[in-house]
């Protein structure tokens, strides 16, 4: 029994939160990686694109709520996703047209584009705060839990409960669908293949008649879609606050780099590596060990590698270590 209690504890506090947070990071990292491979710059504004997507979703959700449309127990925000994806994509395309395309045509250094993306970050952050305000908003209007801790305890007669939030399960399902779609698109369709060719060797692909405008367009469409969904899911899982997305950029970069920049599979793996290591390193193992070893052997301390205050710092730490020891990441990506 104690063994199962321990397993439940780990599932409840590490596995499920790690999976859903990992999904959100993976979606973000996939967007960053795609932009990097095709457009050749690190997009610091990606967090703001996510925030923008989430904001559009919230505005649409309010409109739908005022119309009285709801799909209880699923949160209303999920059904507005298709519309907000389209709006986010248009926003990305506008930004590209007015900010990035000029430097792409001039063949500017990637650092310049990086600085441009910081300008975009400032601008969109201000715009978002201007439209929706800086407040914290809870946007989950559906059923909160898919599986309540109490029900689980009763079902299996355990001390530890297992709770699965609606937002967590939705995150995992939607991520699965989206990632499958993106990989199918990149690997199986002709447009996807032309995109990969373009990122592998720009000159050669231009010679073989690939239209660069089209490739760029498609990259932004996919990135906008990923950003919008990732932002909305993150807001649904935690709560929506424009400021948090600013701090999300670095974990996303960490995921992309740890997995290997320029490698879509790497981005997904990197997202989970970062998410799980954040949770595993800051988790207090005392209660877990309490189930497995006799009480007299149990040490006094919480059995925590780092305190929970350092949760986000862990991702930066991993980022820095990976950058120094193996800059190509887990799956050999490109060197920036």
């Amino acid at each position: 029994m104690d063994f199962w209690n321990a397993i439940t504890l780990i599932t409840n506090y590490i596995l499920i939160p790690g999976l859903s947070y990992g999904c959100q990071l993976a979606l973000g990292a996939l967007g960053v990686t795609l932009i990097y491979t095709v457009l050749r710059f690190s997009n610091f504004a990606h967090g703001e694109f996510m925030s923008f997507g989430a904001m559009v979703s919230i505005l649409l959700m309010w409109y739908f709520q005022s119309l009285g449309i709801s799909v209880y127990p699923i949160p209303t925000i999920i059904i507005v996703l298709p519309i907000s994806i389209i709006i986010t994509i248009s926003f990305c395309l506008l930004i590209d047209k007015f900010c990035f395309s000029f430097y792409r045509k001039n063949n500017s250094q990637s650092v310049i584009l990086l600085i441009v993306s910081i300008g975009v970050m400032f601008f969109s952050n201000g715009l978002i705060r201007l439209i929706i305000g800086p407040d914290d908003r809870n946007i989950n209007d559906g059923e909160r839990f898919l599986l309540k801790a109490k029900t689980f305890k009763k079902m299996f007669e355990l001390n530890e409960g297992l709770a699965i939030k609606m937002s967590q399960s939705l995150t995992i399902i939607i991520t699965l669908i989206l990632v499958t779609f993106v990989f199918w698109f990149l690997n199986k369709t002709k447009t996807g293949k032309s995109m990969r060719a373009y990122s592998d060797n720009k000159d050669l692909s231009l010679l073989s008649g690939i239209n660069p405008e089209k490739v760029v367009l498609i990259v932004w469409i996919i990135t906008g879609m990923l950003a919008c969904v990732a932002g909305t899911l993150y807001g649904l899982d935690k709560s929506y606050k424009p400021f948090t997305y600013l701090n999300l950029v670095l974990p996303i970069f960490a995921s992309a780099i740890v997995g290997g920049v320029g490698n879509p599979i790497g981005a997904i793996i990197g997202g989970f590596v970062i998410a799980f290591s954040e949770i595993i390193i800051t988790f207090a193992y005392r209660r877990f060990l309490g189930y497995l070893i006799p009480e007299n052997f149990l040490p006094e301390t919480l059995m925590q590698v780092l305190s929970t205050d350092y949760k986000i710092a862990v991702s930066f730490l991993i980022l820095v270590i990976v950058l120094i020891i193996k800059p190509t990441g887990i799956y050999k990506g490109k060197l920036i």
């Binding site: 441009v116 300008g119 400032f122 201007l130 780099i257 350092y310 820095v320 950058l323 120094i324 800059p327």
Partner: protein, 439 residues
């Protein structure tokens, strides 16, 4: 050459008039407050400029160095807390020394097993973990007893009770030391990676400062740092000031705070001038020429026998030291150390906007950028309000949209900064004051 000089005089004059305008229209207190932070921003942007403008190093870690500078103010100027030291201060020191010894051993092992990657990772990771655990075992109880000692008042080790002005050079040295360590490990990376790595490291530094309460009091803040200049309240009791204000019929409160601010300004201005002259000399010297050569073409500079890695490290250390000094100055001006107030937008990216808008690669441009951008960062709130009022003047007074926009006018600041950066990059990529072509 002449055109360059004219432009400098013109833009600096414009900046001066802007500050005067604020003095006449708003108040002299506001104007001087802006001026003080303008000077600090100018010093920070000089620091970034020597790294990016002169040598092409992308350092996104300004926030971390500024915070370290602020920490130095606390460590130098706060009174010693003997009882806390006896409680556990020495134990913490011991733990830190042990940890560094283990890091040193790890480094040796890492180098020793050059040819067997598996052994290398296994041994160095396990030695590091042992070191980390030993440190935690020794330090944790000591830290707990330090933090629980009168935690509302002290709860940290305190400083060494020196005049706060000493903290400026010490902050420079401290930031230089940290920059040396960071540069050693991170400078091998290429531009984008270096940007992300330095940003990450600065966040780690900040997390450390926020959470290690025994050293910094963390988010509980350190208030009441001593000042290098007299207090307003003391000035208000001096005879000459009382007489002066009575003669000219001025408010003594306003005058005393203006005097204090002027005292700060002159201290800051002196520092700025010293640093500026140093940088001007440096960039005219052979060393400066070499740095620009490395920036413009790293490969050929390398082929000419220049030690690119070493030069980069040098310039990274110098620039970061300057930012550390500016950070200490800022904390001195605030009179308190608030770790939660450090954000990358304000302390890293804004400084970058200053350098790029002002003109990277020349010190006059960097200083101008610091002044101009800080000025608009502060003044964009009233300016944004004015723009929004202008744009919405056609709407009804009670329209929802107008009220919403007026309420959130404060966020215009970020939009304006973003637009400034984007427009500058597009239409004046060399900045307001261009770098001179030197032969």
């Amino acid at each position: 050459m002449n055109k360059h000089k004219n432009r400098i005089i013109l833009t600096y004059g414009f900046m001066f008039i802007l500050l005067l305008l604020v003095g006449f229209l708003q108040s002299w207190n506001v104007s001087l407050a802006i001026l003080n932070l303008c000077i600090i921003s100018a010093i920070m942007s000089l620091g970034i400029n020597i790294q990016w403008g002169n040598s092409g190093i992308v350092n996104f870690g300004a926030m971390g160095f500024a915070a370290l500078g602020g920490l130095c103010c606390v460590l130098v100027s706060m009174p010693i807390t003997n009882s806390v030291w006896q409680l556990g201060g020495f134990k913490v020191l011991l733990a830190i020394v042990i940890f560094f010894i283990f890091i040193f051993i790890t480094n040796r092992i890492w180098k020793f097993f050059k040819h067997s990657p598996k052994k290398r990772i296994f041994y160095s990771v396990s030695i590091f973990l042992i070191g980390f655990m030993t440190m935690r075992l020794i330090a944790d109880p000591a830290i707990q007893s330090i933090e629980s000692f009168e935690s509302a008042k002290t709860g940290y080790l305190g400083g060494v009770n020196l005049p706060i002005i000493f903290s400026w050079p010490i902050a420079g040295l401290f930031a230089a030391f940290v920059a040396f360590l960071i540069g050693k490990i991170a400078l091998g990376l290429r531009s984008d990676y270096l940007a992300i790595a330095t940003l990450g490291i600065s966040e780690i530094v900040l997390y450390f400062i926020k959470n290690e309460d025994w050293l910094t009091r963390g988010v509980k803040n350190v208030n009441g740092l001593p000042r290098p200049v007299p207090y307003e309240i003391d000035l208000q009791n001096t005879d000459w000031l009382i007489k002066l204000t009575e003669n000219y019929d001025l408010s003594i409160i306003v005058v005393s705070s203006i005097i204090v601010k002027l005292a700060y300004s002159s201290l800051f201005l002196l520092t700025l001038i010293i640093i500026f002259i140093f940088f001007e000399t440096v960039s005219k010297s052979p060393w400066g020429r070499m740095m620009r050569a490395i920036r413009d073409n790293e490969i050929s500079a390398n082929a000419m026998g220049k030690d690119v890695k070493k030069r980069h490290l040098q310039v990274f250390v110098i620039g970061s030291a300057i930012i550390g000094i500016a950070g200490a100055m800022m904390t001195t001006l605030d009179g308190q150390f608030t770790p939660a107030s450090y954000q990358p937008i304000r302390y890293t990216f804004l400084i970058w906007i200053m350098v790029i808008v002002g003109g990277s690669g020349n010190n006059y441009g960097a200083v101008l950028g610091g002044f101009l951008i800080w000025f608009f960062w502060v003044e964009s709130e009233p300016l944004g309000l004015w723009i929004i009022e202008l744009c919405t003047s056609v709407l009804d007074d009670d329209s929802l949209l107008k009220n919403h926009l007026l309420e959130s006018a404060a966020h215009m600041r970020l939009i304006m900064m973003g637009l400034t950066l984007l427009l500058a990059l597009r239409f004046a990529p060399k900045g307001i004051i261009e770098e001179q072509k030197r032969i």
